[in-house]
Structure formats: structure tokens, C-alpha cells
């Protein structure tokens, strides 16, 4: 039950909360920008009247700056100082968030405007938590808050030892829904859902540790994600045993001395026979359709309708529709069933040659038509196979048995067919469930095998794979290949920083639009080339594609290596400080990983180490 109400001006909101003695408060806002705007606006229109507190803040912040010089002259300095309000979100550097957290716990702030990220992680409570809506923003739009998210938020309300009561206040907003909030407050928390997945790093480490795939498979099957499947497998396993026992009992009761395996063999033959019969075209139309499906392909000329006088050159097949070009050059689209004759030659689909194509068909006409299949021929072909199966079914009871025993066995085998079916079904389902967990690992193992990091057949990690296992980065294979190809060894500090930043950053995030110099662009292009080879191989084996390189991160990291001041970098990129901080700090971590490969890639390792050292200066520490 949405109640659309215009959002209260932030100063009005703070004042109203103050009136009810509900301060300090954390006001949750959907975006970083809204937090910043609300804080500045509130500070501008509502100065903190308590001058002692203003002075206390000034002193506090002066002391803080002595330890964390990077927050000096922060653009929100005055907002905090004069207004006693602040914005807190991932767009700020850690030191700035820290000063706000400390001011808050010292009781020197009235209100913090924050995104939901505050709810996770650092503990800093207030008397009141304000929600301006029941929705959360995601990368792809809006969705309802979850019970757990709301609980994280309300968990901030009420300071232990400082408050008798904590409050959650739903405030006016365009996405406000008090009913939903009331419901969520009472809802039980969301269950923990496993996100277990296969990675190159895990695979290489475990294969190197255990020397074969089987233990890795066991570990994957132990995952929380697989827990339900594991229970299902256990049940199917029981079903399989049960069926086997029933078959045994039925045969025994009838006096047949054959083993249950024979019944299972019979089941396989019978179901093969059924499949064969089902695949057999039953009517002429069915036969014709499957034949057309095979022969109608781009480049062939077909006639429309039974007469087939109107000719079309097929250019495309899409969802059962055939698309092509008519003799007059116009486009035609029709279902497969309307096609009459199909002509054998396959032509190039080109506008210039289209006239010649139709001329040839008109000239040689009938001699080029592919003969349609006949139902009788098709049936004849299949019935040969059926005969073989029938003979095998007949022979399933050994001829060495006497007449009486053979009759008993035949009867009891057929009688236990349903049990054999249930046995086979269980086996198949177990296989499906087990493949589900293992397949992503197997796919990755095949890719690594292609590049020589492990030997799939021998189930062995190669020397190369051993150092790749130690490389704890997001995309080890790509970096591994770049190292193998000697790309890293030739790089200077600027370019190695650029490449690592392009990989370590968030794919879609904008880190500014600094110009890239030619050397960096060339390096990134070489890197992309390697990336393309890697993802082609991954695609072939069904591994989902990796994100693309982020060029804007590369340019920004290159600039930071060149030695500019933080303030300059922030001004030049116009990116949010927190994003820059995280990107550079992740770049450092990735570089330090490469720096650890001194034994196998000494040049790359030493450049990476030196580069990391340059990147690691205030505030990136």
C-alpha cells in the first residue's frame, strides 16, 4: 500500500525529529547523491544553535586531522561543523567515514544521512532510524527491502547504555509504504542462501593438494548449496536399492535364477525400442517437416506452394520462419510448411549475383530439385534397427536354459520391468544432481588444461598451474596468460598500474575521463587480445564470460602513479573519493599478488612491487 507523499525538506525533518526528542538519527536515503544533498541542505538551512557543540566538533576534528591529514579541507567540512549533520556512504574515503563515526559516538552529531551500506559493517548506532521509503535501489532498478536488510537498519536504532528506547520512523517519501514496513518489521529474517561456485583458484589449489579430481568433487558435494541435493541423492539411492531388491524378490518368487542385472538389461532394450519408435515419423506431414528443416538453408532456392512457381532465395531461418529474397528483389517471410520444391545448389547470398541465381534455376529447373523423402522408405530404414533390438530382447534369457525355466524367466523379467524403470530413473537423477555441482569445476579444468595449467587426463597441476594457484586475484587466468606471454615483463610502472586497475575495478563504474596516453592504450589493447583468447576458450567450454576491462580506471591509476596529489586526482576525475580509494586499494592488492611471483616472473614481480609501493601513499594505505 504505497502512500505517495512529497519528501520532507531535510532540515524540516531534522527539526521535527528534534521536536520529539528523537535525535540523534540516521536517515536512510536511496542514493549517495541524495545523502550529500540532504546533508548540505540541512546544514545550510538549519545551523546548530548549540555553540558549545560547534566548538567541540571543531576541536575534535582538529585533533583527527593531525592523525589523518587526508581529511583536511574536505568539501563537507562545514556541513558537519556548522550544521551538526553529515552524509555517510561508500563514496567517501575510510578516514572521512571514521571521523563521522567517531563524532557520532561522541554525541556531537544530530543526524547522519546514509545509504543502506551503513547498515552493514561498522557499528554506529543512533536513537532513531528514519526510512524515507520501503524500497532499495539496485543496479537494475528498485525492489522491496528484505526483512534482513530492514533488520540491519533498525539494528542501528537505540544505543546501548545511552537510550532507554530506540525508534524506527517512516517519514514521507515518494516510495513510502508504511504497511510494507510494518509487515517487514514483524517478518522473520531471510534464510541464508549458499552462493557456492567454482573458481580457477579453488580448483588449482585443491587439485594440487589432492592430486585427483575425486576429492574436489567430494568437497563440492559437501557445499551448503548442494546440501538439499545431497539429501535428494540419499533418497534416490534408497529408491534405487529398494527397486533392486524388489526385482530380486520377484525373480526369486517366480523361480527364475537370473540376476536383477538381466532385468535392468531388458529395461534398457525396451526403452531403446520405445525411443526408436517415437522418433519414427508417423505421418507424411511430420516426415516432410523434418526433411524441410534439414534441407532449407541460407543460399538455397525454394519454391513457394505446391506449384512452386514463385521462387525465393533463402537468406535466413528464424524461429520456424524462413526469410528470403524474391526475384523482384523484395523481402519475403513465410513458414517452413509453405515450401514446395527445394533446389539443390547453395548460392552466395549476394545482391549482385541474385539474377544469375534465379536464371540458372529457371533454366535447369526440375533437374535441380531435391527429391522428397517417402514415408515407406523412412519406415523401412528404422524397422531394420527395431528388428535388431527385438532379437536382443529375445536373447536376453540364455538359450542354455530349459524350456520351462526360460518361460518363467521371461514372464518374471517382464513383470519386474516397472521396478527396473524406477531403478534406472533413480540412477539418471542421481547423475544429473551430481553433474550439476561438478560440471562448473570440470568446465574450468578443461579451460585450464587448454592453456597448460593442468593436465585434464592425468588430473595433475602443471608447474605453471602451481604458481597460478598462488595468484589470488579476480581473474587469475587472464593475468597468468599475460605473464606467460611476457607482456608484464616489458611494462613500466605506469602501464602495469593501468592494466591492473583496468582488471581490479568495478566493470561499469566511472572513474573519470582522463586521457590515456598511447603507450597505455597499446598495452591495454594487447591485454584485450589475450583476454579475447581466454574468453573464447572459456566460451567454448561453457564458462560464463568475464567482465570487460575498465579503461577509465586504467587512466586514473596511471595518473596516480605519476605522482599527483589526491586532491588533484579527485578534481581531475570528478569521481567519488570512496570509489577511487577502493579501486586503487584493490589495484595495490592485485599488484602485491603479482609481486609474490618473484621466482617465476622476476621482472614482472619487481615492477609490480615497486608500483604498489608508489600507489600506497595517503590516503591509499
Amino acid at each position: 500500500m504505497k502512500i505517495k507523499m512529497p519528501e520532507m525538506p531535510p532540515a524540516t525533518l531534522v527539526t521535527a525529529l528534534g521536536f520529539y526528542n528523537l535525535l540523534p538519527a540516521i536517515v536512510f536515503m536511496p542514493t549517495r547523491r541524495r545523502c550529500d544533498q540532504a546533508a548540505s541542505e540541512a546544514a545550510f538551512t538549519r545551523r546548530d544553535p548549540n555553540l558549545e557543540r560547534v566548538e567541540a566538533r571543531r576541536e575534535f576534528m582538529r585533533d583527527f586531522v593531525a592523525e589523518h591529514p587526508e581529511v583536511r579541507g574536505h568539501r563537507h567540512w562545514n556541513t558537519i561543523l556548522r550544521g551538526g549533520v553529515a552524509s555517510h556512504h561508500a563514496g567517501h574515503i575510510p578516514a572521512w567515514k571514521l571521523v563521522i563515526e567517531k563524532l557520532m559516538s561522541a554525541g556531537l552529531l544530530d543526524t547522519i544521512f546514509a545509504t543502506a551500506t551503513v547498515a552493514a559493517g561498522v557499528d554506529f548506532p543512533a536513537r532513531t532510524v528514519v526510512l524515507t521509503g520501503a524500497d532499495a535501489r539496485t543496479g537494475s532498478g528498485w525492489r522491496m527491502l528484505t526483512a534482513s536488510e530492514l533488520q540491519q537498519m533498525t539494528g542501528r536504532a537505540g544505543r546501548r547504555g545511552k537510550d532507554n528506547v530506540g525508534f524506527v520512523v517512516a517519514a514521507p517519501g515518494l516510495h513510502q509504504d508504511p504497511e510494507a514496513i510494518a509487515k517487514l518489521l514483524k517478518a522473520s529474517p531471510d534464510p541464508l542462501v549458499s552462493q557456492f561456485r567454482a573458481t580457477y583458484t579453488t580448483l588449482l589449489n585443491l587439485l594440487d593438494a589432492y592430486g585427483s579430481f575425486a576429492p574436489i568433487r567430494e568437497i563440492a558435494e559437501k557445499s551448503f548449496a548442494h546440501r538439499e541435493s545431497a539429501a535428494a541423492i540419499a533418497k534416490l539411492e534408497a529408491q534405487r536399492l529398494e527397486s533392486e531388491k524388489t526385482i530380486e524378490q520377484k525373480l526369486k518368487a517366480a523361480g527364475c535364477e537370473l540376476s536383477p542385472a538381466v532385468a535392468l538389461g531388458l529395461e534398457r532394450l525396451v526403452s531403446a525400442r520405445e525411443r526408436l519408435q517415437q522418433n519414427q515419423p508417423q505421418t507424411r506431414a511430420e516426415l516432410l517437416r523434418s526433411w524441410l528443416d534439414k534441407v532449407v538453408q541460407p543460399g538455397r532456392v525454394v519454391g513457394i506452394g505446391r506449384s512452386g512457381r514463385r521462387l525465393v532465395l533463402v537468406t535466413q531461418r528464424r524461429n520456424g520462419q524462413v526469410i528470403g529474397m524474391r526475384e523482384d528483389g523484395r523481402r519475403a517471410s513465410f513458414p517452413l510448411e509453405r515450401i514446395g520444391p527445394v533446389y539443390a545448389p547453395v548460392y552466395q547470398v549476394k545482391e549482385e549475383t541474385i539474377e544469375e541465381t534465379f536464371d540458372e534455376i529457371r533454366e535447369r529447373g526440375k533437374s535441380l530439385i531435391i527429391p522428397e523423402p517417402r514415408l515407406r522408405d523412412a519406415r523401412c530404414e528404422e524397422s531394420g534397427s527395431l528388428e535388431i533390438i527385438d532379437r536382443q530382447i529375445e536373447a536376453i534369457v540364455p538359450a542354455s536354459l530349459d524350456e520351462e525355466q526360460r518361460k518363467i524367466c521371461h514372464e518374471s523379467l517382464w513383470a519386474s520391468l516397472p521396478d527396473a524403470e524406477s531403478f534406472e530413473r533413480a540412477v539418471r537423477q542421481i547423475e544429473v544432481l551430481r553433474t550439476e555441482v561438478w560440471e562448473p569445476f570440470e568446465q574450468r579444468a578443461r579451460v585450464l588444461s587448454e592453456f597448460g595449467y593442468l593436465d585434464f587426463g592425468a588430473e595433475q597441476v602443471s608447474d605453471r598451474g602451481r604458481w597460478l594457484a598462488d595468484l589470488h586475484v579476480d581473474r587469475p587466468l587472464l593475468i597468468g596468460e599475460a605473464l606467460e606471454k611476457g607482456l608484464f615483463a616489458s611494462l613500466d610502472k605506469i602501464r602495469i598500474a593501468a592494466v591492473m586497475a583496468a582488471l581490479a575495478s568495478d566493470e561499469d563504474r566511472d572513474y573519470g575521463e582522463l586521457e590515456l596516453d598511447d603507450a597505455v592504450v597499446e598495452t591495454l589493447a594487447q591485454f584485450e587480445e589475450i583476454g579475447f583468447k581466454v574468453s573464447t576458450e572459456e566460451w567454448k567450454h561453457g564458462v560464463e564470460p568475464a567482465p570487460e576491462l575498465n579503461f577509465s580506471a586504467a587512466a586514473t591509476a596511471a595518473r596516480w602513479v605519476s605522482g599527483v596529489e589526491w586532491a588533484t586526482l579527485v578534481t581531475e576525475t570528478r569521481a567519488e573519493e570512496g570509489d577511487l580509494f577502493r579501486m586503487l586499494s584493490r589495484t595495490v592488492e592485485a599488484l602485491l599478488q603479482v609481486a609474490g611471483l618473484a621466482k617465476v616472473h622476476p621482472e614482472a614481480a619487481s615492477t609490480a612491487a615497486a608500483t604498489a609501493e608508489i600507489l600506497l601513499r595517503d590516503p591509499v594505505r
Partner: protein, 296 residues
Amino acid sequence: MPRGRDRTGSGRGQAPRHSEKRKPQAKSVLADSSEPHGRHLQPSDVRRLLAGIGQPEPGPFKPDPFQIEALAALEFEDVLVTAPTGSGKTWIAQEEIRRLLREGKRAWYTSPLKALTNSKYQEFSEEFGAEQVGILTGDRKENPDAPLIIGTTEIFRNQLFDSLRGGNEVRGDLVVLDEAHYLADEDRGHVWEEAIILTPPRIRLLLLSATIGNAEEFAAWISEVRGVHCGVVPGPKARPVPLRSAFLLPDKRLIPLLNESGKLNQEIAQMGERERERERDRDRDRGQRPWRGRRR
């Protein structure tokens, strides 16, 4: 009481009506009185809503029963503690670590965020002495042989890999997995699962998690894969500080979100009803004049 407030209204508790936005300096001083004014004018439900607001008397720290329970359980099994932030989960870890350090044993404390790792490092260094504590993150390595190591979960998992591959054995008698509900994180959750599966059963596990819907199932899984029983210790049923919910109306009146029987406040429900009626009217108008907006 703020001057200039219109008190001739409905008689309900009313928030001040300032137009702070237009004239900042003049009004802000008035606006910031922290006393809840006009309390005698507020209806009883609002009075109840705001009753008892303020700071409690300071008292001596007394551990909560669930904290004691968790410590007792840790003596013979793994423990999963599920409680909201701020309810005192860290205290359990801290006391258990204190005990182990006194006995000359070793512990790992892992957390998902570098910021948390850094602040825990500082906190524990102050608590146990700097020489007792080391830190390991992607870009920081200090005192790595200390008996207590604070690190990211990834680094801990990597050490497990190393020890499996014939490197040094993971030395430790206890591993604390803080924010264990990160297991459900889309990108990094698998690391937590791997850490739980690969930690040798001889090492005690203490998992600190936000409240989750399937704690028992989660603990049963841990028991299964590690072969050591994992007990669940839920945090206190009541929050450490009780929570009340309210709704702030556009006219700055504060009313309870729920009524006494826990249902949505009638006044709010009626607002929603009126909104729905307006929507219906709009739809009907559109229905009657279908040409509208289609032709020009």
C-alpha cells in the same frame, strides 16, 4: 516551546511549523529545542509512543545469558551465534580469545571487510597488548607470528589452501568467523563455505552471524561437513534496547505506526484507502475518455 507555533489547531500534538527552508538563520535556533513540547496536548497513543525516551542510569556491565551460554558451549563444540549487530557478539569472541591466550594457545579472527579488520586489530591490540596481535590483509602484514591473527576471510582461506598443499599447518585452536552471514554474498560467499569445509576439525569454530532464518539448518550442515557438532546460540529474544515504530506525517505530526494490537494504525490505513480511491477515480476518468492522450 517554540514561539510562533500555532496552538489553536486540532489539539493533537503538533510539530513546529517553521519555514526553515526560506529563512535559515532566524528560525533554526528556535527549532532545535530538544524537549518534546506540548506533551499534554498529545493524544494518549503518542504519549505512550514517546514515554521513557532518554538515557538509562549507568550500571555495571553484566554479561547477557546468551553470551555466557555461548562461552560454555565453546568448551566442547563449535558454536554459531546469531544476533543483531550491537548485541554483544564480539564480547564472546573476545573472552574466548582471552582465555586461550592465557593458556598459551592461538586464535584467528576473520572478518569480511578491511575496515573491520583494521578496527578489530586496533581494538584487540589495546585489549591484549600489541605483541599478542598480528594482522593479515591483502595489503597489510604485521606481526604475522603473533598468537592472535586478525585477517580477512580470504587470507585465512588461502592459508588453508597452502597448508593442504604441504605448506605450514594452520596454527590455531580457534577460528572466529565474524559476519558469517557473508556466506550468502554473491561474489565472495563461496570463500566462507570453503573456509568452513576446509578448516581442520581439531580447530574450534565460532561463527558470529546476523539473525538468519535457517540457523538450525546452517549449523546442521556445519556439523555434517566437519564431523564436529555445531550448536546454535541465538541472541536475546528482546533487543538490548527496545524498538518502537512511528510514522511521521507530512504535517510533521508523529503517530504510532502500529496500534496496540500490532496492526497498522487506522489513520495510516485510511490514508492509504483515500490514495487508492484517488487512483480509481483517475483510472475511471481515463476509461471514460479513451481518446484522451491518443489523438492530438
